[in-house]
């Protein structure tokens, strides 16, 4: 899709990008990460010729970008920057319509397209008439994304688009950004300095330092095999934990660690069953497979047999798409070491065990030491 070949850029004496060769895949999000001045933004801006490289070649779909007019090239590539850069004197509608108007679309088509995009970024139609200064940071960012997508470009360049947003809204924006990408399937180059953002959003991560490409690969690969001290340092001491955020609970289901019972079963009977099966957890499931409650067999000093059965009619659950970090924090919060995993409709699929999460961390550690 996008091919950088031996690209070098110098500013005066300083080499911002050194002999960079990289293949960026179609329909994937590639994250560029590294410390300030590592050349990540320079690389991004060379793709739409806001910065011209001194040496090397950049191909988009096999065609050299240097054979195209910069203005025409830029109109064919979506561009989102950190402070959004919305035009304050244009309404939201006119901001989104900018590139289609440059491309001389007819107004009817523009109207349809803007409505479609507002819907895509989950802003309703009334936003079209508002002005950028009337919007919150998150809303501005959504408009910025809609504007970049207006002419339906294949490629989207995003320069720290969520950098100025507070952490809570940032993670919301990241989620909806991933959802949007599922629909639009664009080739996205995304510059960030936040390693968590890179791991969460990236299909691929390109780590840069001092103008050099240090490591390029899938997040999992990089987390498990950081190439050198620099990458390891960048990933942070908790990179084994971070690796957990890539793992979905649906891949770690245990269907053996519990018993299922019909709702309303006699507690004494459940107690008996759990003891015979040597289990501590029974889940009440109705005839449709929907989880109704959980029974825990716990040690007790007040009961004659040394154990009591507690019931929770509204148990905490995980969804199949939650990652292991989320499962872990839910466990820490609730004090449970087993959590039922359900579908969006509430059907029981299995449980996730604390010991399994630990095992995953251990495995990652072991792999690292090889």
């Amino acid at each position: 899709m996008i091919e950088l070949k031996n690209v070098t850029k110098k500013f005066d004496q300083l080499e911002a990008v050194h002999n960079l060769s990289l293949h960026l895949e179609k329909g994937k999000i590639t994250m560029f990460i590294g410390p300030s001045g590592c050349g990540k933004t320079t690389t991004l801006k060379m793709i739409n010729r806001l910065i011209e490289p001194d040496e090397g070649e950049i191909l988009v779909n096999g065609k050299s970008i240097f054979a195209q007019e910069p203005v025409a090239l830029r109109r064919s590539i979506g561009y989102v920057i950190q402070d959004v850069g919305l035009f304050p004197h244009y309404s939201v509608f006119d901001n989104i319509a900018l590139v289609p108007r440059l491309l001389k679309w007819d107004e009817k088509r523009i109207q349809t397209r803007v409505d479609e995009l507002l819907d895509l970024v989950t802003l309703n139609g009334t936003y079209g008439k508002k002005y950028p200064l009337q919007l919150s940071g998150g809303e501005q960012q959504r408009v910025g994304l809609a504007r970049a997508l207006a002419a339906d470009p294949d490629i989207l360049l995003m320069d720290e688009p969520f950098g100025a947003i507070d952490p809570i809204n940032r993670s919301k924006l990241q989620d909806s950004f991933l959802e949007i990408q599922e629909t639009i399937q664009k080739t996205i180059i995304f510059v960030t300095h936040d390693i968590n953002e890179a791991i969460t959003l990236g299909d691929l991560i390109a780590i840069m330092n001092a103008g050099h490409l240090v490591q390029y690969g899938e997040p999992n690969e990089i987390l498990q095999n950081p190439k050198d001290d620099f990458v390891e340092h960048l990933l942070g001491a908790d990179r084994n934990l971070k690796a957990l955020s890539l793992e979905k609970t649906r891949d770690y289901l245990d269907e053996d660690a519990y018993l299922t019972v019909a709702p309303g079963t006699n507690p004494e009977q459940i107690k008996q069953k759990l003891r015979t099966a040597n289990r501590k957890l029974a889940l009440a499931v109705d005839e449709n497979g929907i989880l109704q409650g959980r029974y825990n067999l716990e040690p007790s000093t007040t009961h004659a047999d040394g154990e009591k059965l507690s019931y929770d009619g509204q148990p905490d659950v995980m969804s199949r798409n939650n990652n292991l970090i989320e499962a872990l924090s839910m466990m820490l919060e609730t004090g449970e070491n087993l959590l039922p995993v359900v579908t969006s409709k509430g059907k029981l699929r299995g449980v996730i065990k604390l010991t399994q999460i630990f095992a995953k961390v251990e495995a990652a550690k072991a792999e690292k030491n090889i």
């Binding site: 064919s76 402070d83 850069g85 035009f87 304050p88 309404s91 508002k130 002005y131 009337q134």
Partner: protein
């Protein structure tokens, strides 16, 4: 009473002085606007940021040169009459217009310009669709200030034969007739107030809507 008397006896002369004064103002300010804005656009073009800073510094300092000095210098080089008066007024008016337009154009947020460039705006689209409309309130404010200063300064231009309401004031001073001085200065002030009000209105209507929008 003598004011009314003098006024009714010399209506046509006073009227033509007012007309002359307005002409001095209108011609000089239009020329100053065209030159001032054209210059500011030239020096705020991409890559000339240093030049823009130098011009802002110099024109800022030039603002403090007294008007009489410029009129006197024009007299030395160009002579006497309406044309030298207009030339002096143009020179005197360019400075504040240039100063405001240059600071307005160069203070447009670089991020917005970069976004425009990145989306495929041509150079002239960046100027006319982004920089100019965003700088317009500052530019108009500069012109508005300049207009009132210009009208006041035009009275001094009478010294070098510029004509206009300044003539009345000088006649009044020479003949020691207060009512004539009063009519000359009163009409000058009235003209300045009217023009200022007009520009205030223009400033209001021309400010892009989104810039006034408050966060809801």
């Amino acid at each position: 009473m003598s004011v009314v008397n003098y006024f009714s006896k010399n209506t046509s002369m006073i009227w033509s002085a007012l007309e002359q004064h307005f002409a001095l103002f209108a011609i000089s300010i239009i020329v100053a606007i065209v030159i001032g804005i054209a210059l500011s656009i030239l020096i705020t073009d991409e890559g000339r940021e240093k030049l823009a800073r130098v011009v802002i510094a110099i024109s800022g300092a030039a603002l403090s040169v007294p008007s009489i000095a410029i009129i006197a210098l024009t007299f030395i080089f160009v002579g006497i009459g309406a044309t030298p008066a207009i030339i002096a007024l143009v020179i005197y008016s360019i400075v504040p217009i240039l100063f405001n337009a240059t600071s307005g154009l160069s203070s447009v947020d670089q991020k917005i310009i970069e976004a425009g460039k990145g989306m495929g705006f041509t150079k002239s689209q960046i100027l006319w669709k982004i920089k100019f409309p965003l700088a317009l309130p500052v530019i108009i404010a500069g012109i508005r200030n300049t207009a009132t200063i210009n009208i006041g300064t035009a009275t001094i231009a009478a010294v070098i034969g510029g004509g206009g309401l300044g003539d009345l004031i000088y006649i009044g001073l020479k003949l020691n007739r207060g009512e004539v001085i009063f009519i000359g200065s009163f009409l000058t002030a009235l003209l300045a107030i009217c023009i200022d009000a007009l520009f205030a209105l223009l400033e209001k209507t021309i400010t892009p809507k989104g810039l006034n929008a408050m966060r809801s």
